[in-house]
Symmetry: C2
Subunit: 250 residues, 2 copies
DNA sequence: ATCCGCTCTTGATCTGTGTCAAGGAGTTAA
DNA sequence: TTAACTCCTTGACACAGATCAAGAGCGGAT
């Protein structure tokens, strides 16, 4: 299962994207708290396509995604699968208090995780209130994202679903770079057609057809299979069925 | 908007179902913490069919459902609606830190809410760590429920969707009464066909047809339109597509 | 260079669910 | 009693998306 421990020294700036350390802890932590966090922390890489944890596995750690993209996936006995979460850098994996994993966690791209051994981490939560508060904020955001996605899954057409997904990835990308003010946004899709289908509750054929249709209608342009160019972000949002930008997710 | 303040004295046993007071606080709270909670607390009733809060409204409070059933609903501009949460007694409404509501909150039946004014409640969270910890637990449970529902919305057939919903309501009901060990479970559906459709991402006609089909196939029996009898709970679970009871939701 | 495996596209056809329409059953009000 | 209303059921038909099938593009291994 391709597990490699990395030393903190490989991340000279600290764990830049690690939500726990930088967003939850650093700004408010006492030095001795940081030390305790470092003691229970280790890094781990997983190759694209590998499964980090299977549903039901014992969870020995919780983790934060440092780089790459992971997904939470549920599978029914007959093989139907539904992705229930897209984990981007900064997102959190696992939950304090749970012994075993509730979902498969799959590395969609090569990823680096910042892991914390679970038991000591749970102790830290009890002793360090602002960690629980930060985790609560993050969890509430995830809950909003999940509910937003329920609207997508339950009520949107295939075309709207695709546009919604593209809008999310585009937004994430524009947010990471300088705010893509006005100018066209472009990015590489980090998901295969099949992964998109699993996220959207569609088949990969329908995904492919709808992407072709959006291309034909000049809502997007493609370079190769994965590189997407969005000439007019508002238009894309409109296709997604949520004209008022507002919420959306992730 | 039908707002009635009730006095705590109308709930002589305290607020039995109130998650914050009894599950989050009582067992671990100091007396002075309980007093502070009481100061910012009030009760409110809402009639069936009324909207408690509209999306975008300013949230002056957070609340816990004491009795009855409420729902969280999202609506698109063209009127398509998706229920994104079913709130049963003990469930929490609102989130600390958010100024305005992200969803419509609708009273599906007559309900009683135990409300806490938001600002002082947020202060309490900061000062009283175990409240944040309890809220984190509850939020994580809701997140699991939402993700479970994503599988229902994205990958299940209409028949499986109906069976899934019936199973949830049945489980809740059996849990409230003495564990319905073996014997047949019966309960009143608290939702109209239309509300079920909004929850399941279907039309009310399809809901009606599938309920008729389950009745015809003796998976359930009906007395009137709303009273459901489940002779074999395992069979129902099987129809829902999740043979291994295990998780499910809410 | 050739073959293999993987991802993606496109076509033809099938089917589950939506849409439109009519009417039944129960409740409340006149 | 009838009328009006809400909630639910059922039928006929349409259509979005699934399924089945063939093949294109492309990188990696031999």
């Amino acid at each position: 299962m391709n597990e490699i421990s990395l030393k903190s020294s490989q991340f000279p700036n600290g764990c830049q994207n690690c939500a726990i350390r930088h967003q939850a802890v650093c700004s408010r932590c006492e030095p001795d708290e940081l030390e305790r966090l470092d003691e229970i922390k280790y890094y781990r890489t997983v190759e694209a396509g590998q499964t980090v944890i299977w549903t039901g596995d014992r969870m020995e750690f919780v983790a934060s995604v440092v780089s790459g993209i992971a997904s939470l996936t549920q599978t029914m006995e007959d093989g139907r699968t539904q992705m229930v979460g897209l984990l981007l850098p900064g997102d959190f994996i696992g939950r304090p208090g749970r012994e075993s994993a509730a979902y498969d966690v799959i590395a969609t791209t090569d990823i680096v995780l910042c892991c914390f051994r679970r038991k000591p981490f749970e102790n830290m939560i009890v002793q360090t209130p602002h960690i629980a508060q930060r985790l609560l904020e993050m969890t509430l955001d995830e809950l909003d994202a999940a509910r937003e996605w329920m609207l997508v899954l339950g009520r949107k057409t295939a075309r709207e679903k695709i546009a919604s997904l593209l809008a999310i990835v585009a937004r994430r990308n524009a947010a990471l770079k300088l705010q893509g003010t006005g100018e066209k946004i472009q990015f590489d899709l980090p998901l295969t057609r099949e992964a998109m289908a699993d996220y959207l509750g569609l088949t990969l054929e329908t995904v492919s057809r709808q992407i072709s249709a959006l291309k034909r209608d000049k809502v997007i342009a493609l370079e190769g299979k994965r590189h997407v160019i969005v000439p007019d972000y508002r238009r894309l949002l409109n296709e997604a069925g949520d004209d008022s930008d507002g919420g959306m997710m992730m």
